[in-house]
């Protein structure tokens, strides 16, 4: 007890020097792979990268539905549309007439990069580390090891440089294939770079300034334009992602020097941005540390919010300068039990965004009722939820002879299965209530989702007493009989119908999930065979069209219905084109509506098209519409201003910590229990003492025997 008085609890996993500081502690489960903004595309990396880079646009932190606001851009991009002859079209021209669109983006003047050796200059004003002095390269193992740093103002050319990097043959940007269809000249640039890279050899640096990208143009120091084929309204959403963040040529040059990559001194490991934080320690196996960027342009905390957020005190910091937190320490936590316990002990301020590990601990009732236990509530732990822009579904392979195809029998079979599989029970058993059943692909909070009776799936649900009620199993049985399988048996041969589900065995509780699903199918006398394989095998089967039913999910890139409906768009067919339409669904009318909906602005007209699309999908039932997960964040009372919302990822700068309260609580919760130590010591003595005594006796005996023998 005395020991605890001197500052830290025994089980504090952090160095004593850090205690009481304005540091946020959090954890990550999967090791981030890429920090190069042209490559990074996963949530594991976004946690870090969105704090470091500042793309032209960002989402408003508090407003829902999501609203775009300027980030590094001085204002929202201006958009001008042109027809085939190159004439400017008026705002009300229809999408079909548009030949190309030009986005003009103005960059904020006076924004500075984080301090970084790539910008460092020697006395003569030349770059200090290009060429890299051999001794320096020898000595440095991390970027903070370089003694000289510098900075530079952000200019429009940096954005253009990054756009060119999308086409870089060695970087494998995941969105290159998508963007080459929209940004003019990207394909040509890729070809030119590929041949240049071949000539220059594998190690050589390619100076992208030597190559032209037709579709992108630098107007002046602070302005650039992107030319898009046709219209692509979703481009503004892409502009919130690091793919469109600035990368200065100096930085690329700096990292491309020989000998750097072997020491992990690359942009893929040490990002350089203009955002509120910079990476100062990077060990993806154990610990990542972000520190406040001293050159950050400065922003203020937002003041507008929903009434609910206002009531929750989310705008108490309105107008204050952000970021609040000096440092953020992320520790790697692969196993769920330590992660969860450290959180309970106060050593993590909040759970991660995608922390499946915490699922077990939190339960919720039907309508978002918070299910924290008494103990946790007494500790001041809070639970925040929001529907995340995801959809999890059981897809049917439409090329399958049994469940697939446009025939009426197959459709009824699919509907019977849709009714029989009780998603509500799934959500309650497996997600502890943190999800909402899906009626169609679009999750709540995204345009196209409608609450109430208009939004239900009439094929599977009835509207009873103001709530959707799943149709009864009898309806499913009837549909099954109509499909030619009365009682789950083929009407002609009497053979039982066997449905095959392909899953991946990864993930906890897979066995219970399979058992549950078997139980669901047994309700309508169907037999389920689960074919379990690894992720690659599943992908392989989907590609070849060998799967029958499969469980997949989609995490939206941006809050637009297009990003969900394209998963069912015919030309995206997985077997035909290796696209994202894994169920190979094909419906000409749906495709036509999709193409129209895609380029429309949100409004009543778009909504009516989406309704039509939903009716088609619900009728054809190419998926069993699964559920939309609710994102949730558990946090301690000392952490302020944290709002979950998977689309908004640059959240660190808004958060604030009451460090005094944290230190106090941590000490109070982690008093070491010392009596077991004393007990163990006591037991040891009790064990050793008789032994020693016995040994003494033994020795004495030996002596006496020899004495006798001697005498």
């Amino acid at each position: 007890m005395v020991l605890t008085g001197c500052g830290n609890a025994w089980n504090d996993p952090y160095p004593a020097a850090e205690s009481g500081q304005n540091i946020l502690y959090s954890a990550f489960v999967n090791r981030p792979k890429h920090f190069d903004p042209v490559q990074s595309y996963s949530e594991d990396e976004a946690t870090f990268l969105y704090q470091i880079y500042e793309p032209p646009l960002q989402y408003h932190y508090l407003k829902r539905p999501y609203v775009l606001i300027p980030g590094a851009a001085a204002q929202m991009p201006t958009l001008s549309r042109y027809d085939k002859r190159g004439d400017l079209l008026s705002d009300d021209a229809i999408a079909a007439d548009v030949a190309y669109t030009v986005y003009e983006i103005k960059v904020r003047p006076g924004v500075l990069y984080q301090p970084h050796p790539a910008f460092a200059k020697d006395q003569d004003g030349r770059p200090a580390y290009v060429p890299m002095p051999a001794a320096m390269l020898e000595a440095a193992t991390t970027i903070p090891d370089f003694p000289l740093t510098g900075t530079r103002e952000l200019i429009a050319e940096d954005f253009v440089y990054q756009l060119k990097r999308l086409a870089h043959p060695r970087l494998h940007s995941p969105i290159f294939e998508l963007m080459r269809g929209y940004i003019r000249g990207l394909s040509g640039l890729h070809a030119a770079l590929s041949s240049a890279a071949e000539k220059a050899g594998p190690e050589a640096w390619l100076d992208l300034d030597q190559f032209a990208l037709d579709g992108v143009e630098v107007v002046d120091r602070y302005t650039y334009r992107i030319r898009v084929e046709g219209t692509y309204p979703q481009l503004s959403y892409w502009m919130t992602m690091p793919f469109f963040a600035p990368v200065p040529r100096e930085v690329d040059r700096f990292y491309a020097q020989p000998g750097m990559a072997e020491k992990n001194l690359t942009l893929d490991w040490w990002p350089v941005g203009t955002g509120p934080y910079m990476l100062i320690e990077t060990d993806p196996n154990a610990r990542m540390v972000l520190a406040r960027n001293p050159n950050y342009r400065g922003e203020t905390y937002p003041c507008e919010a929903d009434a609910e957020d206002v009531a929750a005190g989310m705008v108490a910091d309105c107008g204050k300068a952000i970021p609040f937190i000096d440092r953020a320490v992320f520790s790697r936590e692969k196993e769920g039990i330590p992660y969860w316990n450290k959180f309970l002990q106060g050593y993590y301020d909040a759970s991660g965004v995608s922390s499946d590990n915490f699922d077990q601990a939190v339960q919720m009732g039907g309508e978002g009722e918070v299910g924290l236990s008494e103990v946790m509530r007494a500790q001041g732990i809070e639970l925040n939820t929001s529907v995340s822009p995801t959809v999890m579904y059981l897809g049917f392979n439409m090329l399958d002879p049994v469940v697939g195809g446009a025939s009426e029998a197959a459709r009824k079979l699919r509907l019977a299965l849709s009714i029989a599989i009780d998603e509500e029970e799934f959500i309650s058993v497996f997600l502890n209530g943190r999800g909402s059943p899906a009626m169609h692909p679009v999750p709540p909070g995204i345009f196209g989702h409608e609450p109430g009776e208009a939004g239900i799936n009439p094929m599977v649900y009835d509207w009873v007493n103001g709530a959707p009620v799943r149709k009864s199993v009898d309806v499913a049985r009837k549909l099954l009989a109509e499909a030619g399988y009365p009682g789950g048996r083929d009407a002609k041969t009497g053979a039982p119908l066997v449905v095959h589900l392909d899953t991946t065995s990864s993930g906890m509780g897979q066995k219970s999930y399979v058992n549950w699903l078997t139980k669901q199918l047994r309700k309508i006398d169907l037999q389920l065979v689960v074919r379990d394989s690894d992720w690659n095998r599943l992908q392989d089967k989907l590609r070849k069209g060998n799967a029958q039913m499969f469980f997949l999910g989609w995490n939206a890139d941006y809050p637009d219905p297009e990003n969900f409906y394209f998963l069912l768009y015919g030309p995206q067919g997985r077997v035909a084109t290796q696209g994202e339409n894994a169920s190979n669904y094909q419906n000409a009318e749906f495709d036509r509506l999709f193409e129209a909906m895609k380029v429309m602005p949100n409004g009543p007209e778009r909504l009516s098209i989406i309704r039509k699309m939903n009716r088609i999908l619900q009728h054809d039932a190419p998926w069993i519409w699964g559920f939309h997960q609710k994102a949730f964040v558990l946090q301690h009372g000392w952490l302020k201003n944290r709002k979950p919302g998977a689309i908004v990822r640059n959240t660190l700068k808004y958060q604030r910590i009451d460090t005094a309260q944290r230190s106090e609580k941590r000490l109070a919760w982690n008093r070491p229990v010392i009596w077991p130590l004393a007990l163990m010591a006591g037991l040891l003595v009790l064990m050793v003492w008789p032994m020693v005594r016995r040994y003494r006796q033994h020795e004495r005996q030996t002596v006496s025997v020899t004495d006798v023998a001697g005498g």
Binding site: I337, Q360, P496, K511, Y513, N515, R531, D532
Partner: protein, 462 residues
């Protein structure tokens, strides 16, 4: 469930398992006829610990055998059906015996012997309103009219009934044993040659415990239910077969490899020895986990590519189990092989082997007549010693995700599924506890038997 007939299904592991049992019986008969082997086995039986362990292992073996008799029940005939059609689901005799535990599934967690669910749910009230409370279980304690009042008394009466049956069984066993061992007095005083008293005591404990468990299981979920409401007692018993398979079938791979290669290397020496040593050094030097991971993945690919070979889910997971046994065998034969090689080196130099060679006795005959029988004690000791290690290894491998099929009940998958339940608040401890107790008893019995067998067979232990 089998009202319309059934079709027996012999899975690959079943076949191997029964083959192994048959081999053991043949080996036992053989040992019976050889006085020196009989003496060794008798030494095992003379030790109380040995008898106790054998009784426990036999009970587990019985569960394993019941769970290895598989069949597919015929589906009720429908109009237009020309031939009998069988369910795709493969069930075992144990499933029939535990039909109640298998089919009485709750919605989600419930504590051992509970009458109410573990988590609160919204319950519809008769007046149309809702209330959050622990709902009554659908099956657990459903026979009680007033759960709060009758619960305790019902459990006590069931325990008493179970214990009474257990005591009855125990008395029956005592009667049988005393007939064969010259009266009850000798048995109770422990004056019999084999330690029958210990066997009887162990049996009594097992019978009483089993009686109580079975009696309670008729009305409750004895060990609670898991996340999807399955009976943990049932799952635990199903895990026994997997553990037994892993522990025994692996030897089907280990033994031939180790014996053949070990004897060859030791007897012939020269380049044969070099090649065999090379082989096992290579295998030994690859970290086992990596080898197992690769092999298990390979099996998955194979199953994927030949879906028509594995009609049912049981056949798929069975193939994977067999593959796991195989690969565990491949990684674990090297130790025994080295031992046998060393021993054969010594045997080769013995006079009678030298003499046989000088007389021109064919090599095969020398090996079978003179070398192999003198190695059997090492083989038997290794067999028994390996068993517990393999059972423990299965748990770890399944935990890492490269063990048995996730759909197959095994101690590893049980632990894997249960590990996060400790973090729940309030804690769900019963799955883990049940897995722990059963696994502990099984491995403990195996370890104790291994000790006794080693003492009995090792000539040095004399």
């Amino acid at each position: 469930m089998i009202g319309h007939g059934f079709e027996t299904v012999v899975l690959w592991t079943d076949a191997c398992f029964f083959l192994l049992i048959a081999a053991c019986v043949v080996g036992g008969l053989h040992a019976w006829r050889r006085p020196h082997l009989r003496r060794s086995w008798a030494r095992v039986g003379e030790r109380p610990v040995g008898m106790a362990a054998i009784v426990v292992l036999l009970v587990f073996l019985l569960i394993g055998i019941l769970d290895s008799l598989h069949f597919r029940a015929a589906l009720p005939p429908t109009a237009g059906q020309t031939e009998t059609i069988y369910a795709t689901e493969v069930t075992s005799v144990l499933d029939v015996v535990m039909h109640r535990q298998r089919t009485d599934v709750e919605r989600t967690y419930s504590a051992p012997l509970a009458t109410h669910a573990f988590v609160k749910e919204a319950i519809e009230l008769p007046d149309g309103g809702q209330r959050r409370d622990f709902p009554r279980l659908v099956h657990g304690g459903a026979h009680l009219a007033d759960a709060a009042q009758d619960h305790r008394a019902d459990i006590v009466s069931r325990l008493a009934l179970g214990a009474a049956v257990g005591v009855g069984l125990s008395l029956l066993a005592a009667a049988c044993l005393s007939v064969f061992n010259g009266g009850i007095k000798r048995l109770m005083r422990g004056e019999t040659q084999l330690a029958w008293r210990s066997a009887w005591l162990t049996w009594s404990v097992v019978a009483v415990v089993a009686g109580m468990l079975v009696s309670l299981a008729q009305g409750y979920h004895v060990f609670g239910t898991d996340k999807v409401g399955q009976d943990v007692f049932y799952l635990t018993l199903k895990s026994v077969r997997t553990a037994l398979m892993i522990g025994t079938l692996t030897t089907l791979v280990t033994l031939p490899l180790a014996i053949a290669l070990g004897i060859l290397a030791g007897y012939f020496g020269g380049w044969v020895d070099d090649v065999i040593q090379y082989l096992y050094t290579v295998l030994n030097s690859i970290p086992g986990v990596l080898l197992i991971a690769a092999a298990v993945l390979m099996m998955q690919v194979f199953i994927e590519n030949h879906p028509d070979w594995f009609a049912t889910a049981a056949e798929r997971s069975d193939a994977r189990l067999l593959a796991l046994c195989f690969i565990l065998g491949v990684t674990s034969w090297t130790g025994l092989c080295r031992l046998l090689r060393g021993e054969t080196l010594k045997l080769r130099e013995l006079e009678y082997v030298q003499a046989a060679r000088a007389f021109g006795v064919p090599t095969v005959r020398i090996l079978l007549r003179h070398v192999l029988p003198n190695l059997m004690h090492i083989v038997i000791i290794a067999l028994v010693m390996d068993f517990s290690g393999l059972v423990l290894a299965e748990a770890v491998l399944s935990y890492v995700g490269i063990g048995v099929d996730p759909n197959m009940a095994s101690f590893g998958t049980l632990i894997n599924a249960a590990r996060m339940e400790l973090a729940r608040d309030p804690m769900v401890w019963w799955s883990l506890a049940a897995a722990f107790v059963f696994m502990f008893v099984l491995v403990l019995a195996a370890n104790l038997l291994a000790d006794v067998v080693r003492d009995a067979f090792d000539p040095r232990a004399g």
